[in-house]
């Protein structure tokens, strides 16, 4: 920058840009969707291109909670506990129809959508969703992260 020029970007946008490319996710994998999550995370589809290549297996180090697979009533308190342990800012992705709505498990054991327990930012439908859908959801989440107000 020369003399007399201005740095015009807003600080929020700079932080949002940085945050959307440094997603540390916590994969909460309970069912078959996990296979598709692994396919997405591995080299062929490679979510590292989107800055989401480092799964943290501790909720305290994670920014995004990937809920991958059916959540039963018995598992619900565990999921709630994991969400509560994550530090702000945090986002939640519902991966697959079981987490979105309960899917075809219309029965006594299954939670009918994880949004009855925790707030959800992005829903990725599919049984299981193809990696393309997952990446699409991830990019939507990135847009959301970048566009949102940044608290810090």
């Amino acid at each position: 920058m020369g003399v007399g020029s201005f740095f015009t970007s807003k600080l929020d946008e700079a932080i949002g840009w940085a945050r959307k490319y440094s997603i540390f996710q916590y994969p909460f994998v309970t069912a078959c969707c996990g296979m598709e999550y692994m396919a997405t995370a591995c080299s062929h589809y490679d979510i590292d291109r989107f800055g989401a290549g480092l799964p943290r297996f501790s909720p305290r180090q994670a920014d995004v909670l990937f809920v991958v697979g059916t959540i039963s009533h018995k598992m619900a308190p565990v999921l709630k506990r994991v969400y509560d342990q994550m530090t702000e800012p945090k986002w939640v992705v519902a991966f697959g129809v079981c987490t979105c709505t309960g899917g075809f498990y219309d029965n006594y054991a299954t939670v009918q959508g994880i949004d009855t327990i925790i707030p959800v930012d992005v829903y990725i439908p599919g049984c299981p969703p193809r990696p393309e859908s997952v990446i699409d959801g991830l990019m939507k989440l990135q847009e959301k992260i970048a566009a949102g107000a940044q608290r810090f």
Binding site: H73, K74, A76, P77, V78, K80, R81, D84, D106, N107, Y108, A109, V111, Q112, T116, I117
Partner: protein, 165 residues
């Protein structure tokens, strides 16, 4: 032993305690009374010619919606036995009514019956007399009812349970 011979042996030994027998495509079943159940199971395990050393499965059936069986005893508790020594199998059933759904426990005979009986209690509400620790196995303590009973509404939702402290 061949399945039919096992049934004949049980009938000869226990007489009227064996209520009913049948064989279908090599699978043989005996229905026994509740009073004689433990005796029959013990004999099946300990007799050298039977030697049913494995309790493959212990489950139950709610027959209250089964055509022709609506008025009879509501539950059937089913024991699947297998013998590794003789390579033969047998299915034993005991019928219990809705008013008094109690069966003596098989835990002293096969320790695996512990969890299997807890599952049957969990899903059907059949109690096992003498069981060391009859708690729910798959569901949680706050759950009301027994979901595999035919009168449990398929779309009933239980309240969500919160994290335990």
């Amino acid at each position: 032993m061949e399945g039919g011979a096992i049934l004949a042996e049980l009938q000869a030994r226990f007489g009227a305690a064996v209520v009913e027998t049948h064989g279908h495509r090599g699978d043989h079943t005996a229905v026994v009374t509740r009073e004689a159940l433990i005796e029959v199971l013990g004999h099946c395990r300990d007799d050298a010619r039977l030697a049913f050393d494995v309790l493959m499965d212990l489950t139950a059936v709610d027959v209250s919606r089964l055509p022709g069986r609506e008025d009879g005893p509501r539950f059937e508790v089913v024991y699947h036995l297998a013998s590794l020594r003789h390579n033969h199998r047998l299915r034993l059933k005991v019928r219990v009514s809705e008013d008094h759904p109690v069966v003596p426990t098989a835990v002293p005979l096969w320790p695996i019956a512990d969890w299997l009986e807890r599952e049957v209690w969990d899903m059907f509400g059949v109690r096992f007399e003498g069981h060391p620790d009859l708690r729910r196995l798959l569901l949680y303590e706050e759950f009301v009812g027994h979901p595999l009973r035919k009168d449990y509404p398929v779309n009933r939702r239980q309240p969500l349970i919160g994290p335990r402290i």
